[in-house]
């Protein structure tokens, strides 16, 4: 009696490759683009360990750039602290506002009104940060006189709520709350996209069953809607966490000389050190950028691990 020889794994793999050859062919451009534009440029990371100007061959300095940022540059730590504070606050507000707005929009029963509302709240996302900053500078302008004062200060002074106009964007006490408000105004609507998609996918049977059990709107929300959103919530949280260290454009356009220390974040610090300073020395800014990436990566991994342990869900 002869027994069938098990197919060799290599043969199986080759057969599978051949079978799905068109899928792989379609994937090839994506792979090439990803490699070219995401992985190949990572070669530049090596300059974090060099003194590098465009004019001379790079000279190896080992960990010197990292020693500099960790022990000799207080401005780096200020930027690091600002980045974490602004980003994590922004992230928490973003999750809270987006979920709340999604729940509110989901309650609108009229389909036309619901879609109109969705469109209205998405729109600010498509404005560039430069435009948004210009608009808010005008609205919040203190002005030298009533004629040049912005809408907010005109209102506050006219109603006697303040004795003199407040320069919101040039006062370190006001800058962070104002920045967070502007960020939420611009991005909350866009943040609802995924949550609204999740809400529409919740089975109506669950709400029906809850109603039969005597649950009101609030109880339905607590016991049906929010648990159904948790998976999405975790995924969005982890994805957003990977971007928390990327604050740049939004901060840069709202920065000014008077609040530099309170507003400098790692990306703007890299920009000021690498580009604005015109020193043409790119080793140190690259080291700062690499440090930022490592911290961002660590945050994602920690959050993913915690999520797995607590909820049994993660994305990696």
């Amino acid at each position: 009696m002869t027994t069938a020889q098990p197919t060799k794994p290599r043969v199986r793999r080759a057969a599978r490759l051949w079978k799905y050859r068109y899928h792989y062919l379609m994937f090839l451009p994506v792979f090439a683009a990803t490699f070219l534009f995401f992985y190949l440029p990572m070669g530049g990371i090596r300059f974090a360990f060099y003194r590098y100007t465009p004019f001379q061959p790079p000279s190896w300095v080992g960990w010197a750039n990292f020693e500099k940022l960790l022990f000799q540059r207080p401005a780096f730590w200020t930027a690091f602290r600002n980045t974490l504070t602004l980003s994590l606050t922004n992230l928490a507000l973003s999750m809270l506002c987006s979920v709340t707005l999604s729940l509110l929009i989901n309650e609108i029963k009229n389909r036309f009104l619901k879609r109109a509302m969705q469109t209205i709240v998405y729109l600010p996302h498509f404005l560039s940060w430069v435009v948004v900053a210009s608009v808010f500078y005008i609205i919040l302008s203190p002005g030298n006189n009533p004629a040049t004062s912005g809408l907010v200060n005109a209102f506050l002074t006219r109603w006697g709520l303040v004795s003199k106009p407040i320069f919101f964007l040039a006062d370190a006490r006001w800058w962070t709350p104002v920045y967070l408000f502007i960020s939420r105004w611009k991005e909350t609507g866009w943040g609802t996209v995924i949550f609204l998609a999740t809400l529409t996918s919740i089975s109506p049977d669950l709400y029906e069953a809850a109603q039969i059990d005597g649950a009101g709107r609030w109880r339905q929300c607590l016991n049906v809607t929010i648990p159904a959103m948790m998976n999405t919530f975790v995924v969005v949280l982890i994805l957003n966490l990977s971007k928390v260290m990327n604050l740049f454009e939004s901060v840069l356009v709202l920065q000014n000389d008077r609040v530099l220390r309170a507003t400098e974040v790692l990306q703007t610090y890299v920009y000021h050190q690498g580009i604005v300073a015109q020193s043409a020395e790119y080793g140190y800014p690259t080291a700062v950028g690499l440090f930022r990436s490592v911290v961002a990566c660590a945050l994602v991994l920690i959050c993913n691990t915690v999520s797995k342990r607590v909820n049994g869900r993660g994305i990696i």
Partner: protein, 482 residues
Amino acid sequence: MTLTKRLLAAVVAVVTLCSMGAAVSAETVKPETITFFIDTVFGSMMLDSTFQPVVDAFKEATGITIKFIKPDHSVYYDQLNLAFASGDIPDLMEIGSTNYPTYASNGALWDMTSAWEGSALRASGAVKDENYVNALKIEGKLYGFPLSMGNGTITYIRQDWLDNLGLTTPANYDEFVETLRAFTEDDPDGNGVDDTFGITAPGLINGETPYDIYLREFYQDAKPDIYQNADGAWVDGMQEPQMLDALYRLRDVYQKGYMDVEVITNNTSAAREKFYAGQTGTFNYWAGNWNVTIENNTRKNFPDASVKPIPPTGGIYIERPSLALAISNACANPEGVFEYLISYAYDGAEGQTLFTRGIEGIHYVKEGDAYKQLPDPENTEKLFEKVIAAPDLVYTSWADPIKLDERVLSSKAMFMENRRFDPVPPASAVWIENISEVIPIRKEAIALAVTDEGVTPEQAIADYVSQAQPFIDAILAERNGK
């Protein structure tokens, strides 16, 4: 022929051949092409119709092809650095005074000192004011040739506002402040509305050297930078007593509301627009051609407006170092570029006409006995201004075929009578490593000292010192050779 005669003949032949060879090598080889990185020249769009005739005319005159490379202004130095990093290095490039020393100290630029000193251009006397060339020397070496005069800011004032209020041109600092007060409180435009203030500026401190080029009435003899004083010692201007006085002057007019409350968030266009819109009646801006632009734009909103430059009412105006035309060290034939392009473009004659006004029939035209500018192809509402060097900023003996506007001449004359040269900032590894940490601390200290009621200038300076001193010490130790 005797042996002696044969030997003598051989020696003579060898000497003759050697001298011929020397003569050949001493003659500068003409380059076939010159790659030229440019930023501020030829307008903003670099239209073929504008620059190609100049390229063709230069080729016809010299047989050399110029290849212009003009990145967008906002990324000019990114692109120039990229060109160096990738090895695709231009022969000739335009560099501003902030980057020029960095490039020179990194060995990127060709030392043209001996080429200039032994040049026919210098011997011809066409460069009538060598101060502009000398101002670009770094420790005695010349790495770039001045593209034009450096120019600087002058104070412009709404003459019609002065007339409305019955005021005369302010002659000293106190009168200047009184004018700012009147512009703020006495309704200078006579519209019965409280809608004006005295002065605006694009920031309390400039973004590049010279940092004190704006708000000259207030900075006066203070310099918010590390500089070499009259005794030859390098000092931190922020810690000099003059700076405290300057900060109090700025603070005084700011806190009284005579200065634009948004001065720290202004850029240059925002400051200009506020002047054009009649919100303010005074600001510092560039001398020369800008006088016409500012008055014309203001008159679009206020047809009766009159904008006049005034002499400094405190201190003196500053002429910044010129933009430099620098030859890269990677250029195969730097002597050729200097002799055939730079020397030609600044010859005070036909070469300079080509590189300043352009070509007759395309960029300007003769009407009767006079020449006049033709419309700029980029913007036909404007007249074509310049090819490389601005006609109002020429420092050679060149005679402009086109008569400049009287306002340009008077503004420039007033500036020239009341200005000093600002030196090229130094650059070294120590300087570069530390100055980028000092600059933001300095900016914030000035902003707080002037605009924050709760922070005195002394407190702002003390805070600045506590943060910036280690970096300043490193720079001063190197500069002063300690």
